[in-house]
């Protein structure tokens, strides 16, 4: 590969692209998504007005990383002026919504709801739409998502078209049977489905709008996080392909947990593993150079926890790490 072609191995491009509103960090479980997204958020906080970091992973790691308890509401991160974080579980927020409407609706409303929620993946997507509505009402200059492992994210990103179809069917149904249902529910003393359909429609609007934003490379980018191993690289390749199928911009790959043993190191495992990682790193460079910024992050001898360590770690996103000689 020519050196001129090589894109700089940093995330500086993300920091410089001021139009970005949504930044996703995604990859297989355990590759350091959370560390990466926290570091990125910290770096962004230094050059933007306000940053919100959201974790949609049911296994919440933000609290762990910052050593501070976060909840469903945006909370200011200790030690930062303009960095906020929140942890949401899309599925559970959906559950809440169902319960809430079950209380207000009758048996009929419940049935129609069951029908609507029988659409595969609707719970996740609606939970996400809920979050979006929430987030849109707040004013942050950029929002970083620490997403759940690969499949999850992609499903909801691909969701709007499915939902569009299903909801279109449902609303014609409601147009046809609505009057009858209304009469019946009038008889039984309930009147919820109009309300329900209105809400579904609204949801669809939100999801569609969010999706168009996601497909705009000026507004949204996806950062693939991986480690230098076969399976992780394989998953990353799949992720990249799927993202391009969904027309979501991605041009950054973070390779995490790289080992750099000292030259005089006698640790056999370290040396072997270093060799293997370098092999896959070469392959990744061969495959992605020219289109992707490939950022290399080292595996440290300590856990990256707490604001101070994260701050230090985050510098390596901007200034490439130099292995000790």
């Amino acid at each position: 590969m020519d050196d001129e072609e090589l894109l700089p191995p940093t995330l500086q491009n993300v920091l410089d692209q001021k139009t970005l509103k949504w930044i996703f960090c995604g990859g297989k479980g355990g590759v350091g998504k959370t560390t990466t997204s926290c570091s990125l958020a910290i770096q962004l906080a230094a050059c933007r007005e306000s940053v919100l970091l959201i974790s949609t992973d049911p296994a919440h790691n933000l609290s762990d990383a910052f050593g501070q308890k976060f909840s469903k509401d945006a909370t200011k991160v200790n030690g930062f002026e303009n960095l906020y974080a929140m942890e949401i579980d899309p599925t559970s927020s959906m559950q809440e919504m169902i319960e809430q409407s079950d209380q207000s609706g009758g048996a009929m409303g419940g049935m129609m709801q069951d029908l609507a929620f029988a659409i595969p993946g609707v719970d996740e997507a609606m939970g996400f739409a809920e979050i979006m509505k929430h987030v849109k009402s707040m004013t942050y200059s950029v929002i970083v998502f620490d997403t759940a492992p690969t499949g999850h994210t992609l499903r909801f990103l691909s969701f709007p078209s499915v939902l569009e179809k299903a909801l279109g069917k449902l609303s014609t149904l409601s147009g046809r049977f609505g009057p009858m249902l209304q009469q019946m529910s009038g008889m039984f003393g309930m009147g919820q489905q109009e309300d329900m359909f209105a809400r579904l429609e609204e949801m669809r609007g939100t999801i569609t709008e969010v999706n168009t934003q996601f497909k705009d490379p000026e507004l949204t980018t996806f950062i693939c996080v991986c480690i230098s191993e076969f399976l992780s690289l394989y998953e990353t390749e799949r992720l990249v392909q799927e993202l391009s199928a969904y027309e979501i911009d991605t041009h950054n790959i973070v390779v995490n947990q790289l080992l750099f043993p000292r030259a005089d190191s006698t640790c056999e495992q370290c040396n072997v593993r270093h060799g293997m990682q370098q092999k896959y790193l070469r392959e990744a460079h061969e495959l992605y150079d020219g289109m992707f910024h490939i950022v290399q992050l080292p595996l440290l001898t300590e856990e990256v926890r707490g604001p101070e360590k994260l701050k230090e770690f985050s510098r390596m996103l901007v200034v490439p790490y130099e292995p000790p000689k």
Binding site: Y234, E237, Q241
Partner: protein, 220 residues
């Protein structure tokens, strides 16, 4: 009116020929010809694509994902893209095929049954030929049904007669061919069982014997 008789006979013969060959087989041939002549682009593309995808798949299988990940991933991308293209092309071709099949069936119908009906209806009152009076006695009026003049054979009846004759000759030929072909081998087996069976199953000889003659096929 010999030409009318001949025309109807030829039409019936054509229908019968098509029937013998088989409509689906004819359609296959016609479509092969059609796709070669008129939509050769997509068909050739499909063949080339199939070959390419196959070759790339083989290469993918030969490439180790662990040792040459970059090469493997590139191949994989190409294969995936090829398969997607192939799917699209297949859908396009199969829709072309079904459209063709509809038109072809309509054409066949017009050429055979449709033409027959039209002809029979158009010449419904015309005699195909006259029978010598008194030949068939009381059933002569039946041959002129529905509208042909009395004493003549109507188009409908003539068509019916032609078809019957063709079908009968078909079954005749079939019978001759079927009986003449297998008549050679059966001369060998009858000599075998009597010498074989007792040697292999000495104890149940009486139980085997009664069932034995009945199991022998045709030559008797």
């Amino acid at each position: 009116m010999a030409s009318l008789a001949l025309t109807i006979f030829l039409l019936v013969l054509l229908t019968q020929l098509i029937d013998w060959v088989g409509k689906s087989l004819l359609e296959d041939w016609a479509f092969a010809l059609y796709s070669r002549l008129l939509i050769s682009g997509p068909a050739r593309q499909q063949r080339a694509l199939k070959r390419d995808v196959f070759r790339e798949k083989q290469e993918l299988a030969r490439t180790s994902a662990q040792d040459e990940f970059a090469k493997w991933a590139r191949l994989r991308r190409r294969v995936d893209k090829g398969l997607a293209d192939l799917d699209k092309l297949n859908a396009q071709l199969s829709s072309a095929r079904s459209a063709f099949s509809l038109r072809f069936k309509a054409l066949l119908f017009l050429l055979t049954s449709g033409a027959q009906w039209a002809l029979v209806w158009y010449y419904r009152a015309a005699p195909v030929f006259y029978l010598p009076p008194g030949w068939l006695g009381p059933i002569a009026w039946w041959l002129s049904l529905p509208f042909a003049p009395a004493g003549s054979v109507s188009c409908g009846m003539w068509q019916f007669a032609c078809r019957r004759v063709l079908k009968l000759s078909e079954s005749l030929v079939r019978e001759i061919v079927c009986t003449s072909l297998p008549s050679v081998p059966p001369s060998v087996p009858p000599s075998l069982p009597p010498s074989f069976l007792p040697a292999f199953h000495p104890p149940p000889a009486h139980s085997a014997l009664p069932s034995h003659p009945s199991s022998l096929p045709g030559p008797h």
